[in-house]
């Protein structure tokens, strides 16, 4: 399972980097999205991969730490998702604005001379 997750993160991040370096704004935003997925997964597994263990218990008495997974990365990843979502939406608005004003979807705001 560790290997699968590691590969998934690697593939997502790698594709993201490649897309971010492309000249079209649409490619850049997809790249940013892929990278943020990879980062979110990465934060999530930093609490170690555990199967069948809840982050919290609601029962009475002292909980048994070995039966629980680390709740903090889950809280962190929620925050990161929300913030990443908002900033990507903001980039989308910029992208549309740039397309409208410059008439091209090139990141430099003008087509490169061939």
């Amino acid at each position: 399972m560790n290997l699968v997750i590691a590969l998934a993160i690697g593939v997502l991040f790698g594709s993201g980097i490649w897309l971010v370096l492309r000249p079209r704004t649409f490619q850049v935003i997809i790249g940013l999205l892929l990278m943020s997925y990879a980062v979110n997964l990465f934060i999530f597994i930093m609490g170690r991969l555990m199967v069948d263990r809840p982050p919290l218990t609601l029962g009475d008495g002292l909980p048994d730490p070995t039966a629980l997974t680390d709740p903090l990365p889950q809280a962190l990843v929620l925050t990161a998702i929300v913030i990443g979502f908002a900033t990507t939406a903001l980039y989308l608005v910029m992208m549309i604005g740039s397309r409208g004003v410059t008439g091209t979807d090139h990141v430099d705001g003008r087509e490169s001379e061939e």
């Binding site: 971010v20 930093m46 990161a80 913030i83 604005g97």
Partner: protein, 539 residues
């Protein structure tokens, strides 16, 4: 028990948040009201920052460190806000620059687009939060608040240049934020904590594997800070962004560069100072040489730039490179001088940013007018042209201010830039351990001198072209409210020079604090929560 003075630590974050929120629903036609609310909030911040400086320097808290446990959670578990001399000083600097910028923007710039005032407040909230927080993930949140507001402000007065620069600025910063998250996650995986003091306490006892992971995490994290602090080669976005932003926004961006440097100073001195076991001194060489490369890059950039906005951007890069090298050099007395340099150069570059647009009116009054009308298309009502009385002797004022900011940025006597550089050289020539002056110190001094020379060449070239060689110079109309902020900032630099003794005393205490890691660990981890019983009794 928490007195009301302890709650003051929260004010620099809460006040701009509330003011910004209140400003959103108010229609843009009530710009006087909006300005008044913004000004009240900024003045409140200024007063708060002054009080906090007094408190941290006046022995109000034990060890002069104020700790605020957010939501009453004990230290390593909850988020801690911490104010010490350094944080209080930075809050004061932020409030001063915000005051000047706001006054400047009143006449015209705040009216060329919508929601300037709200974004301004949110930017201040993010900056202040980044200064105060003592938790790495919370730092990320405040960074994002600051960046989100800065994206909006950079686009303020929507034109093609700003959109183009904005696209790149946002993309670079989004990637940097992702890198930040990776760094934070790695640090958490290695140490199981995100609280900076707790991190400092644990770093000495980490096993070899975890230590390696922590170092990787820190190295990744610092990339995100260095993008903000514009270290070479991560700072290419900066000159374009600064040159295309409207002047008040550019002045605030100058402040934002310093946030990156501040965070590096805080984290590095706390976690990797002496007593950190094997991790002591990690990454210092990298910061030192990276900072020196940044100074060289900035100096060459200054010489090459044809536009004043870019020139100022490169001046900011030089200043941030010098500060990074200061942190990397790892000597307490050098940090003292570096902090003085930080104050003086931030004020001077911000003043220069504000001055540029005024000077531009001398160069081509007609073009300046055209630019303003072009700015205005986003907003239905044309911004009021500078009407009413201009100040007398506008040209003399511009020339003098230009010369003063040049002197400070280049570090020539008699103003504060010289004092700062003198302090740096003095510290470099007197190594704490005694003995000979090391080779990096000579390189450092040579680079600072050369960059000063280049700064004076580049800026005088502009001065000569603008004031002497541009043919028919028409004295521009300057509003009092536009001239006052520039005067204020430059006057503060003069005050820094005159009061250099007491200020150096304060900065020495600041730098001495920063090197006492045990003090921070002790204060943060042992600060008691307000007990439920006491809360009940209060009610």
């Amino acid at each position: 028990m928490l007195g009301w003075l302890d709650h003051l630590i929260l004010v620099p974050v809460l006040l701009p948040l509330l003011a910004g929120a209140v400003l959103i629903p108010i229609n843009e036609t009530h710009h006087r009201l909006k300005f008044a609310i913004n000004a009240m909030s900024v003045l409140g911040l200024l007063v708060t920052a002054l009080v906090l400086v007094q408190l941290t320097d006046g022995g109000h808290w034990s060890e002069d460190i104020g700790v605020y446990l957010a939501a009453n959670w004990l230290a390593p578990f909850g988020i801690v806000l911490l104010v010490d001399r350094l944080a209080a000083m930075m809050l004061l600097l932020a409030a001063v620059i915000a005051t000047a910028t706001l006054l400047y923007s009143m006449v015209r710039w705040s009216r060329i687009g919508v929601h300037f005032h709200s974004l301004f407040q949110f930017l201040l909230m993010g900056v202040n939060g980044a200064f105060l927080t003592h938790d790495l993930f919370n730092l990320f949140v405040f960074f994002e608040v600051m960046l989100a507001a800065s994206y909006g402000l950079l686009l303020h007065g929507y034109n093609v240049n700003r959109i183009r620069a904005g696209l790149q600025y946002i993309a670079v910063n989004l990637v940097a934020s992702l890198v930040f998250l990776i760094g934070v996650a790695l640090i958490y995986a290695a140490t199981g904590t995100l609280n900076m003091s707790d991190l400092a306490a644990r770093v000495a006892t980490l096993g070899a594997e975890d230590l390696a992971l922590l170092k990787i995490g820190m190295a990744v994290l610092v990339i995100a800070f260095l993008v903000k602090g514009a270290m070479w080669p991560l700072g290419f976005w900066l000159p374009t962004a600064y040159a295309s932003a409207s002047p008040p926004v550019a002045a605030m961006l100058v402040l934002m560069t310093k946030v990156g440097v501040y965070v590096i100073m805080r984290v590095w001195l706390l976690v990797f100072s002496d007593g950190g076991g094997e991790a002591t001194g990690f990454g210092r060489e990298f910061l030192l040489w990276g900072g020196l490369a940044t100074v060289a890059f900035g100096a060459v950039g200054m010489l090459a730039s044809q536009e004043q906005g870019r020139l100022a951007g490169y001046a900011a890069i030089v200043s941030s490179g010098t500060l990074l090298a200061v942190v990397g050099y790892g000597q307490a007395s050098l940090i003292t001088a570096g902090l003085f340099y930080l104050l003086s150069s931030t004020l001077a570059v911000a003043a220069f940013m504000l001055l540029i647009e005024l000077v531009d009116r001398v160069r081509s009054p007609a073009a300046a007018m055209l630019a303003v009308t072009m700015e205005a298309f986003e907003f239905e009502e044309n911004p009021a042209q500078p009407v009413g009385k201009g100040i007398p002797a506008a040209l003399a004022f511009l020339g003098l201010s230009f010369a003063a900011s040049t002197l400070i940025i280049a570090g020539l006597p008699p103003l504060s830039g010289f004092v700062a550089k003198f302090g740096l050289f003095h510290a470099l020539l007197h190594p704490q351990a005694g003995g000979a002056v090391a080779a990096p110190a000579w390189t450092f001094m040579a680079l600072v001198l050369v960059s000063g020379l280049i700064a004076i060449i580049a800026m005088m070239r502009f001065g000569v072209r603008t004031f002497w060689a541009s043919g028919a110079v028409a004295p521009p109309r300057l509003q009092f409210m536009e001239a006052a902020p520039v005067t204020l900032l430059l006057f503060l630099c003069v005050a820094l020079t005159v009061q250099a003794g007491p200020i150096f005393g304060f900065l020495e205490r600041t730098s001495a604090d920063l090197h006492q890691r045990a003090q921070y660990v002790d204060r943060v981890l042992s600060s008691p929560a307000v007990s439920a019983g006491a809360g009940e009794a209060e009610r």
